[in-house]
């Protein structure tokens, strides 16, 4: 289940790239610089779009790494253009996909350390369900909502992406 959940989180992030296609299209149509969207926010004390993507991506990168007993790759939060944001999304998705099912063995019982609570740990399954999944969706949803609020023609189908219907 861990493998599948992390893959699904990666898909949620990947969908933001699809939303960026629509953002560029909208900017082109309405003749404004698409970069404006990247520093947009819904409230003055909220992080802007790029930061939301970085946070969402990090919860996936750290989630995948910690639950599979690896050291997460180090990346700087220095994206400023749409292209750079796309690359950040792509390398996050690729990293999540590079981890195989068997590498998550024992993940549920693994003790995970979280940076912001030094000295404390959380069980792997709690980490996945209480931190990784809600935080990924929190940031991905906020990024989506920032575009939506600014008139970009994104909808739920863009948010959800692939469904394994048969």
């Amino acid at each position: 289940m861990f493998h599948q959940v992390i893959q699904q989180c990666a898909q949620a992030l990947h969908q933001i790239e699809i939303c960026l296609d629509k953002a560029e299209y909208h900017a082109n149509l309405k003749k404004y610089d698409a970069a404006i969207l990247l520093t947009s926010r819904l409230a003055p004390d909220q992080d802007h779009f790029i930061r939301q993507v970085q946070f969402g991506a990090d919860y996936i990168r750290y989630g995948a790494a910690r639950l599979s007993g690896q050291t997460p790759p180090k990346w700087e939060d220095n994206e400023t253009t749409i292209e750079e944001v796309r690359v950040r999304i792509q390398k996050t998705v690729a990293y999540a996909q590079s981890i195989k099912k068997e590498q998550y063995e024992g993940a549920a019982e693994r003790k995970v350390e979280v940076n912001w609570a030094p000295g404390r740990t959380i069980r792997g399954d709690d980490y996945l369900l209480q931190l990784t999944v809600p935080n990924v969706y929190f940031h991905v949803t906020t990024a989506y909502a920032i575009l939506r609020h600014n008139g970009v023609d994104v909808g739920k189908a863009d948010f959800l992406g692939f469904l394994a219907l048969t």
Binding site: D125, L129, P134, H149, L160, F162, A164, T166
Partner: protein
């Protein structure tokens, strides 16, 4: 894991009640009617706040019900006030949390029919991860929202 995931979804819903407390406090201190927030939306063609909550409650209710082979409780979607909304959230949480772990046995492989795509089915695990969880978190559109979970 399915039971834990649904419980976690129910907790996310429960947290909305905390937001509602803060909304009421904010409305009081800034002297506006909190009802204004209930019909607010981030974009003109997005559903208002109340509808977002109703839909999120439905995904949790239907998720818990379908994955445990039960019938989900019916709701009229007639909430108008903040207290009615609180009650709706509580009902959803109580129902979801009330489903026992053992009732989810075999849920991952269960074939689920979804109202929004007639004739199609989805495996239980995919239903949980691709529909219940993402939809619960997604702000809903008028255009593209699945009318029922």
């Amino acid at each position: 894991m399915i039971a834990r995931a649904i419980t976690q979804c129910a907790r996310a819903l429960q947290n909305i009640e905390v937001f509602l407390d803060k909304a009421e406090a904010n409305a009081l201190s800034n002297q506006y009617d909190v009802g204004v927030l209930l019909t607010s939306r981030l974009a003109r063609d997005q559903y208002p706040f109340i509808r977002q909550i109703q839909i999120a409650c439905d995904y949790v209710n239907f998720g818990a019900a379908r994955l445990s082979s039960q019938t989900a409780p019916k709701h009229e979607d007639n909430e108008l006030t903040i207290n009615e909304l609180r009650a709706r959230i509580r009902n959803a949480v109580v129902f979801a949390i009330g489903v026992e772990d053992r009732e989810y046995e075999g849920a991952s492989e269960r074939t689920i029919s979804v109202n929004s795509v007639p004739g199609k089915t989805i495996r239980g695990a995919d239903y949980l991860l691709q529909m219940v969880i993402p939809n619960m978190f997604c702000p809903c559109d008028r255009r593209l929202c699945h009318p029922s979970p």
